[in-house]
């Protein structure tokens, strides 16, 4: 949907001579690409503008390194600056003390306060703390029930009172007293959602702040928020002196520019992120991952961490070696597929790889799991010799394999072509340093997303395509050929 910043920057900086110097004039276009990427990721206009200027200051006069292309170099700087701006991290929650400590959650309607109260209670539980919830939302129908049910699910006590004619300040005071009695060591106040321009309700929060004196006040912010994020965050911070921000609903495809805006405008650290509706879906905030996401570069770090946990190191090393030598066979291919499967849903994985996100966006209906299964089936139907020496597979064998795995002979053919093409690409990639390899993968994915018909760049793609898609593609290609012909004719005239 969005052009990735890498694409934009590559266009803008393509004319740079390697080894030349970045000057103010030739960097301007590149900076526009940075700014636009940030705006498309919902970073506030002023914040994006200031950021682009900051980058200009740092970049101008820098030597374009011989070994790097300018795009990579500028992205590196942008990425680092983003991390700096969104950091430093502070995941601390108030430590136990002689009295129960108090956490207050606040934010706009529907941002995720009640769910996050539950998530924090659960997190604290796992740390051996004794959390206690207080249902201080007397506005929204069934808000109290919602927190009560969450408390029951966790086995965490919840203080509730009748909503009608009651007052949230009093509920909070009573709640803290009840927590003390229940021997809890940390109290979480779930307040009602409110608009930052609702003076009456903002004063209510200030009163709770004064009367209960929470140790930390956390602002719960929806990651999908656009330009308005700065207005609400600023107003809540001015009214309450926030201690932290929790960014919710990051499990979707929101670029999350609000993270940068809120941090830049308020200076309040982002502590945690919500990545799902379930109560265990709360993670510490990491600026580097967020930076990649805002830039549309994917969450490389998370992918690496996951891969490290799941991959069999020896096998990976072995495959790496084979890739280098260009000896990547069907057997290796299958074992790699199995390792990847252990990481989770293929789409989730692809989203974490730079550029691959585009691919997923471009083909929302692709059924990667199903295709992997089909491919596995094809490989399983081969004899061990065929797997190592695919050259053996002639027409007869191809028919046999196809019949055995319930596909068309042409599918078998396609797979063989793809794997041998892949072996070539991998050989190239394996000889690159890591960051370059990611760049190459991302470039691959980009060409692919724009032009799924491209052959080798898209080895696994052709097997991923449904028949309908294939037909559509053929149609498209035919049209393209026609168009080129027409253009040629026009030029001749």
């Amino acid at each position: 949907m969005f052009e990735s910043i890498t694409q934009n920057l590559t266009g803008a900086l393509s004319f740079f001579r390697r080894g030349g110097k970045l000057t103010e004039a030739n960097i301007r276009e590149g900076l526009e690409a940075v700014r636009q990427a940030l705006l498309e990721a919902d970073v506030n206009y002023q914040v994006a503008q200031d950021f682009a200027n900051r980058i200009a200051d740092e970049v101008v006069g820098e030597q374009v390194l011989k070994s790097l292309d300018p795009t990579q170099q500028v992205i590196g700087i942008v990425h680092r600056q983003l991390c700096e701006l969104m950091g430093p991290v502070d995941h601390s929650l108030p430590p136990p003390s002689s009295e129960p400590v108090v956490l207050m959650l606040c934010g706009l309607q529907g941002s995720g306060k009640t769910t996050t109260s539950g998530k924090l209670a659960r997190l604290l539980q796992t740390q051996g703390r004794r959390p206690f919830l207080v249902a201080a939302d007397l506005q929204r129908p069934a808000a109290i029930d919602q927190l009560r049910i969450i408390g029951e699910q966790l086995g965490v006590p919840v203080h509730t009172e009748v909503a009608d004619g009651n007052n949230a300040v009093r509920v909070c005071q009573n709640g803290v007293a009840a927590a003390r009695k229940a021997d809890a060591d940390i109290v979480i106040l779930d307040t009602a959602g409110r608009l930052h321009i609702d003076t009456e309700l903002m004063q209510e929060l200030q009163q709770i702040d004064r009367k209960v004196n929470p140790h930390q006040i956390l602002f719960v912010c929806d990651a999908m928020t656009g330009q308005d994020a700065v207005n609400s965050a600023k107003a809540f911070n001015e009214a309450l002196e926030l201690d932290g921000v929790i960014l919710t609903k990051l499990d979707g495809d929101a670029r999350g520019g609000a993270a940068l805006s809120v941090k830049a405008i308020t200076g309040v650290p982002i502590k945690y992120i919500g990545v799902g509706e379930q109560l265990d879906k709360l993670e510490p905030f990491h600026p580097d991952r967020m930076a990649g996401r805002i830039l549309g570069m994917g969450d490389v770090v998370t992918l690496f961490e996951k891969a490290q946990e799941q991959f069999d190191a020896d096998q990976v090393a072995e495959q790496q070696k084979k890739m280098m030598e260009g000896k990547f066979t069907l057997v290796d291919f299958k074992s790699q597929m199995q390792q990847i499967k252990r990481l989770g849903s293929l789409k989730d994985i692809m989203k974490m790889i730079p550029g691959m996100g585009n691919l997923v966006d471009a083909h929302p209906d692709m059924d990667a799991e199903g295709d992997m299964q089909r491919i596995s089936g094809i490989i399983d139907s081969m004899t061990p010799e065929e797997r190592v020496n695919p050259e053996l597979i002639d027409l007869g064998r191809r028919r046999r394999i196809a019949a055995g795995s319930g596909v068309e002979p042409s599918d078998v053919n396609q797979l063989l072509k793809d794997v041998s093409a892949m072996a070539g690409v991998m050989q190239d990639m394996a000889s690159m340093p890591m960051w370059k390899r990611l760049g190459a993968a991302s470039q691959l994915a980009n060409t692919f997303a724009q032009n799924p018909g491209a052959q080798i760049q898209a080895p696994q793609k052709s097997t991923v395509m449904s028949f309908d898609e294939k037909r559509r593609l053929q149609e498209k290609k035919r049209q393209q050929r026609k168009d080129t012909k027409k253009a040629k004719k026009r030029n001749r005239r």
């Binding site: 498309e40 995720g112 029930d145 994020a229 670029r255 509706e277």
Partner: protein, 313 residues
Amino acid sequence: MGLFDKLKKGLQKTKDLLRTDVRDLFKAGELLEEKHIEDFYARLIGTDMGVEASKAIVTELREKHLGRTVVIDEIWKTIRDKLKSLLKGGEGTLWDVNNKLSPLKLAPTGTTVILVAGVNGVGKTTSIAKLANLLQSHGKKVVLAAGDTFRAAAVEQLTLWSRRLGCEIVTKAASSDPAAVAFAGCVRAKEIGADVLIVDTAGRLQTQQNLMKQLSKIQRVIEGQIPGAPHEVLLVLDATTGQNGVSQAKHFSEAVACSGLVLAKLDGTAKGGVVVAIRQTMSLPVKYVGVGEQVDDLELFDPEGFVDALFEK
């Protein structure tokens, strides 16, 4: 106060803002310079209408007015016309401002079914209460189906609204199949001869394929029960949403063929400009806007009126 006045009041803040923008930024008699245009671009971005639409407007401004003497009325006209054409996106939809039900496609006979969907926390359940209230005030018999069986106390929430509104509600236990709730809702609505059945659904992110499939299933079940239903599939958007709204509109439409948008929480400082961005990629009209947490905080959205109200002097 007429409905149109109410609409204008609802949009007053936005209108004042953009109007002051134009007055602030462009001074009659001065030459229109690039820096004025850049400043206006910043304000346009601030509405969440997105880079593309904002660029389209400033490009038009540049072409027609850059380097010329500012005539406020002409600049107004350029901006207004461009925004109107961006918002219309082909088949400009006009509602009857005197009939708040006019955006809804109601079945000529039998039960009309309205399916309501959207990402988490945008205001689906509250908007359903508002719609039910609107329909009831026009003498319609309404039944609600509590199709969010997932989120804690979602059923209780809609049940409380139904009690306040005095309309019937169909519920099932937590974690039941939402399609079964929709089914039961259809059956009940037919049984008692209800005019309208409104089906609530759990919030879901558009990237969650299994949940999107579940939504399609709900739609199919409704289709199977009442021919021609659901007559409306309303996607609720939060007015504070940024560019992700485009992805929401796209993916939800793919799953359940949305017929219109409800833009909730427009009573805050967010401008809801993402609907302009959405209009750039698809034709999905905004039918209503939510301007508060109470049942009567629902206003009609009329694109012509919206733009005029935005820029009228």
